[in-house]
């Protein structure tokens, strides 16, 4: 009892006799807002047990011996038993990489367990309205789903590092025993043998991505600026149409777009990719929502100082919306990088990198390794860009809401 009393804080008198303040005061008296709490040994023991059980399950799972006695068919049993022996052998002389992966996995689990322990056991950091069991459940669920989400990506990286014999082994393994970069060098060999030099595809994609992104940022910000900061007839209607257009996918508009392109004589030119990309609705939408957060006084002050509209746009608005720029640059780069645009471009020397890579990927069983390498190459660019810019991107997304 004496120990308990030590932790009781000084509780201030309520500032006023309003209902909210009195309730708050009562809550303080009941000790519900108390920030310090005693270390709970029971709770610690439970969590430690759970974490230990998880880790033990993981270790058991990693060292699982293969057991095929359930098989009914004797031939199948013999066949699989032979392969099972091979797998056992492989398990015994695991390479250092496989060990490393396992060590990283286990270390990660331990770190995560420690983190949840700290998080759960520190009452200082815990917020009101959060039950302990709820937090525990959420952490476990988050871990499981995060593993499920990341597994295919890790798996595609791992299989791009596998030599040919490991790609087709039974039973298959996630991580390669003898990782090589053979698939990537094979990919380069295949690329160098293509009819159009591969650098051409690369230049096409880089050109399309750079021009498309630049034009999109410029044109969309100009439109977003007037839509956000001026009230003119037709502006709201136009914006609501743009919001509806967020739902148009390339598929729905694909056919009429082709007809329009051919009428405009733009089939088989880069304009067929670039012009629709300039007018992508998502960029305008995000830009406009972000610009609405800027104070109007900024523009009025510039007006008083005698600045023209173009000058206001260029030297006052644009420097202030850099996070939004970056976001729509990223989104635009992602979509342009992934366009294969096979329907509007048919000259081989004008096709994009992703298109060429997908052709390699569709090469069948013999290209399985290279296909995995292609997947890694294609996904590397957008993910890296996102990681580099994610804090800015979230800043913009905070204003992305659709007001009614």
């Amino acid at each position: 009892m004496s120990k308990k009393r030590k932790h009781v804080q000084h509780i201030e008198q309520p500032k006023s006799h309003s209902r909210a303040d009195m309730l708050h005061y009562q809550a303080m008296l009941r000790g519900e807002f108390q920030v310090e709490k005693k270390f709970n040994r029971k709770r610690f023991a439970i969590i430690a047990l759970v974490v230990m059980a998880l880790l033990a399950a993981l270790l058991i799972f990693a060292n699982l011996r293969l057991d095929y006695t359930e098989q009914a068919n004797i031939d199948a049993e013999r066949f699989i038993a032979e392969n099972g022996d091979k797998a056992l052998e492989d398990l015994n002389n695991t390479s250092s990489v496989w060990m490393l992966c396992r060590v990283i996995g286990i270390a990660g689990m331990i770190l995560w367990g420690l983190f949840s322990l700290i998080q759960l056991l520190q009452p200082k950091r815990r917020k009101p309205n959060r039950s302990f069991w709820g937090d525990l459940g959420i952490y476990i669920m988050l871990t499981l789903v995060a593993v499920a989400m990341v597994f295919p990506l890790v798996f595609s990286v791992a299989s791009s590092l596998k030599p040919l014999d490991e790609l087709f082994r039974f039973p298959p393994k996630v991580f390669p025993d003898h990782p090589t970069f053979d698939n990537f060098s094979d990919l380069i060999v295949t690329m160098s043998q293509s009819w159009v030099p591969f650098s051409r595809y690369l230049i096409n994609t880089v050109l399309i991505t750079a021009l498309g992104t630049f034009g999109h940022v410029f044109i969309a910000s100009m439109a977003a600026f007037v839509l956000a900061k001026y009230d003119f007839p037709g502006g709201r209607t136009f914006f609501s149409i743009v919001v509806t257009a967020l739902m148009f996918s390339g598929y729905v508009t694909g056919i009429p777009n082709y007809v329009i392109m051919s009428r405009l004589g733009m089939i088989d030119t880069y304009w067929a990719i670039l012009l629709p990309a300039f007018a992508a609705p998502i960029g305008l939408f995000l830009m406009k929502q972000f610009m609405e957060g800027l104070p109007t006084a900024l523009i009025e002050a510039a007006h008083l100082d005698g600045a023209g509209e173009m000058r206001i746009f260029w030297s006052i608005i644009m420097p202030n919306v850099k996070p939004a720029w970056l976001t729509i640059i990223i989104l635009s780069v992602q979509s342009l990088w992934n366009t294969s645009a096979a329907t509007v471009i048919y000259s081989e020397e004008k096709k994009t990198l992703v298109y060429a890579l997908q052709q390699i990927q569709l090469g069948g069983v013999a290209r399985t390794g290279q296909a995995a390498a292609v997947t890694v190459v294609v996904m590397l660019v957008p993910i890296t860009l996102f990681i580099l810019s994610q804090s800015r991107m979230l800043e913009t997304m905070a204003s992305s809401g659709l007001k009614d």
């Binding site: 098989q71 988050l142 509806t244 257009a245 148009f248 508009t253």
Partner: protein, 312 residues
């Protein structure tokens, strides 16, 4: 009656004149808007209009379009059994992946909101990466491969759950669930980011006030404080998830083949592809596109009006 009409029209005329005056004063606004508006109308509005127009014609690009009335729609609904399969599949996929993907994006955004900053960054990257990973879904064709080398098959066989490999991507019974799983895996896109960002922007003092006013657990807090404060992001996220749920096309084409066994993975968009880019029946394909478009708009309206009621 006469006078009311006159009044109405004079009011309209007055409004129009006022608008015109205002528009003249704001000329520069239109100048700024012009480049975007021209491109947008040409490549986003005009296609929809032409699509609706072509849906009433027989058009195969080589011959000029021939007007045939609503024949395309009649064929679509009464004769095209594959289209009905496609509609059924699309709705199954949309009804499952749309709401679940939407709820998952919000729920996980909410869960990771309370993590410390560095961990939240990692979590955002982990959840968002699948949707931007280009065609990384190809990896599922190895995981779900039909022979014993497929990962799922060999895994299940190791534990003796199945005796023979299952043709995940060729058996009509399994194609749709596989596609739903892959689509769900990719469903945390821009809407998820919007939710994460929106949660960080909710006013902290609201939670304290709520606590004082008698909110006792996290679910009450979610329903009465967080959701109403997040409404704009929820609306945006709903638009995004409707778009992804109805436009499932690349995943079934890449995984289940094109055409798939017994049309089990045929969706409205792959049907559109089939008629538009393989058979060049553009009029018919436009009718499909129009139907899809109308369905999406209706869905959007229903969901938006439902979301407005949350937390009030």
């Amino acid at each position: 009656m006469q006078s009311t009409m006159q009044k109405y029209f004079s009011l309209k005329r007055e409004n129009f004149r006022y608008g015109l005056q205002k528009a003249k004063k704001m000329k520069m606004c239109y100048l700024f808007l012009a480049p975007y508006a021209i491109l947008f109308i040409t490549f986003f509005i005009l296609p929809i209009v032409t699509s609706i127009y072509y849906s009433f014609t027989y058009y195969n690009i080589l011959e000029p379009a021939r007007f045939i009335g609503v024949q395309n729609y009649i064929n679509l609904i009464l004769q095209d059994e594959v289209f009905l399969t496609a509609v059924k599949n699309t709705f199954v996929i949309a009804v499952i992946t749309g709401p679940i993907g939407y709820i998952l994006s919000f729920l996980f955004a909410w869960f990771i909101n309370e993590l410390p900053r560095w961990l939240r960054t990692i979590a955002v990257v982990v959840f968002y990466a699948p949707s931007i990973a280009g065609n990384a879904y190809y990896i599922f064709s190895i995981i779900f491969r039909g022979d014993a080398y497929g990962y799922l098959n060999s895994f299940l066989m190791q534990f003796g759950l199945i005796n023979a490999p299952i043709l995940w991507l060729l058996d009509p019974r399994y194609i749709l669930p596989v596609i739903i799983i892959v689509t769900l895996w990719m469903s945390m896109g821009t809407g998820f980011l919007s939710c994460v960002a929106g949660l960080q922007g909710v006013d902290r003092s609201l939670y304290e006030a709520g606590y004082v006013d008698g909110i006792r657990n996290r679910w009450q807090e979610l329903y009465y404080i967080t959701l109403p404060a997040m409404k704009p992001m929820l609306l945006f996220s709903a638009v995004m998830s409707i778009t992804t749920a109805f436009n499932v096309c690349d995943v079934p084409r890449a995984l289940a083949g094109y055409p798939s066994t017994d049309y089990a993975a045929r969706t409205i968009v792959t049907h559109l592809f089939d008629y538009g880019f393989s058979r060049f029946e553009m009029g018919y394909a436009s009718a499909i596109a129009t139907v899809l478009f109308v369905v999406m708009i209706l869905c959007n309206k229903v969901i938006q009006s439902a979301l407005r009621k949350v937390g009030t």
